[in-house]
């Protein structure tokens, strides 16, 4: 028996939502850093760097996020023991690391694609002006590639927000976890999960709005498109 109403659920779920926001924020930011590193690394002239980046991207895109999360949380400490390191991570760290590496691998392909989509003429112009490869990358290629990446990054960020729910499976107190706990306690599944869905949806809408604003800011030099 319980006489809790949806108003009583709200603070508990809001607490979880705040954890979800933080998880999304950090793993998206770090994921973007990883995406640029691995995406540009895949275009590197160094065969070793290229190989490392390709392997990373393929492994993390080719397996399931939940498998990655469980591996980092349950299996990695065993590897650590074998080689004499403590690789046991608290759930928050494991969650952020898994989300970051997963989204970073998808983002890397976006970065690579956008950089490669910059036209040959632009690279030729840069060479004619005697830019170094590094200057060409930072001053010519990336400024043109970045706005191209933004719509896909928007999708990836929302994907990441949704994926944070899986972190509850390694006992992290995010929105999904709080909803599950409340349900166990009250059995009021319909109300609780409806609220959780609406809260995730709301967060996704806010995130999309933010990403679109960011994209518009980054691409403001471009001619208006229809």
């Amino acid at each position: 028996m319980n006489d809790m109403t949806w108003l009583d659920y709200l603070p508990v779920l809001a607490q979880g939502a705040w954890v979800t926001v933080q998880l999304t924020f950090w793993s998206t930011i770090l994921g973007a850093v990883v995406a640029f590193g691995a995406g540009l690394g895949k275009l590197s002239r160094s065969r070793i760097l290229r190989g490392v980046c390709i392997s990373y991207i393929e492994v993390f895109r080719g397996t399931s996020l939940l498998v990655q999360l469980f591996w980092l949380y349950f299996a990695l400490p065993i590897v650590g023991e074998a080689i004499g390191f403590n690789l046991r991570m608290p759930p928050v760290t494991a969650g952020i690391v898994a989300l970051t590496l997963n989204i970073g691998a998808y983002g890397a392909e976006v970065v690579r694609g956008a950089v490669q989509a910059v036209t040959v003429q632009q690279y030729e112009a840069a060479r004619a002006l005697n830019f170094t490869p590094r200057q060409t990358l930072w001053r010519v290629a990336l400024p043109q590639a970045l706005p191209e990446m933004m719509p896909t990054f928007d999708n990836l960020a929302v994907q990441n927000l949704k994926d944070t729910a899986l972190v509850s499976l390694i006992t992290l107190g995010d929105l999904a976890m709080r909803a599950e706990q409340l349900r166990n306690y009250t059995q009021d599944s319909a109300t609780i999960y409806s609220m959780a869905l609406v809260m995730y949806f709301g967060m996704a809408l806010v995130l999309t709005t933010l990403m679109r604003a960011l994209g518009a800011m980054i691409g403001r030099w471009r001619p208006a498109r229809r």
Partner: protein
């Protein structure tokens, strides 16, 4: 012991060999869930796409909202919702079926967008030429638009098929014995998570590479002579 198979914990290698058949049984469940979820998504996606393209805003607007909602909320919560709430309405389904429906629902939203984009990418002049030749609306669609949309749609659909396969482990939370669930059970019982989880990762890698290759072959086999694909 699981599914009648014993494991040999002498060392990591013997364990790996002895649990491979068990994991493959889990993989079989994973593949079944993938195919069923994808089939549901294909059909529901078509319905959603049609509703979203409806001339009446009274139809298209709610359809768009539903599609956005399905796309922007986590599979895990949708799955819990179906699993715990449907029985309250007297609809008790096996966990596997509930899981496949959840996958199908989530991905129907993605596939509806794939259909829409594929059809919209066919230049308007094609439909106009079909009108000028007096083809009926049904023929305009089936003979002129669809054949040109399919080569645009199939590769994207293949990618979502692979995505569904990677989302199947989520079904483990409602007791579906797919590959990851099987692996964690083995881990729980043998106190060795490293071997089963690494094997699951490896099997996933093999499956996604095979699937990607399959999509590539299918794509190459599609008739698309002269159709300008970007």
């Amino acid at each position: 012991m699981l599914f009648g198979f014993e494991w040999d914990t002498t060392n990591g290698w013997t364990l790996a060999v002895s649990i491979l058949p068990i994991l493959l049984l889990g993989l079989w469940v994973t593949l079944k869930a993938t195919v069923l979820g994808f089939a549901i998504a294909m059909v529901l996606g078509l319905v959603l796409a049609a509703l979203k393209a409806a001339p009446s805003r009274l139809v298209s607007w709610p359809a768009r909202a539903v599609s956005e909602f399905l796309r922007d909320t986590p599979l895990l919560i949708q799955l819990f919702f179906l699993y715990y709430v449907l029985p309250e309405f007297g609809l008790v389904l096996p966990a596997f079926l509930t899981g496949a429906i959840a996958l199908g629902l989530q991905y129907s939203a993605y596939l509806s967008e794939v259909y829409r984009a594929g059809i919209e990418a066919v230049p308007r002049g094609q439909t106009e030429a079909a009108v000028a030749l007096n083809l009926t609306p049904a023929r305009r669609f089936s003979r002129i638009v669809v054949p040109q949309a399919i080569p645009r749609i199939v590769p994207a659909m293949g990618n979502y098929l692979v995505s569904i396969m990677k989302d199947v482990p989520v079904l483990s939370v409602v007791t579906v014995l797919e590959m990851l669930n099987v692996a964690t059970i083995i881990g729980d019982r043998t106190f060795n998570y490293l071997v089963p989880l690494t094997m699951v990762g490896g099997l996933y890698l093999i499956m996604t590479l095979l699937a990607a290759q399959g999509v590539r072959l299918l794509d190459r086999a599609l008739p698309k002579t002269g159709i300008p694909l970007k």
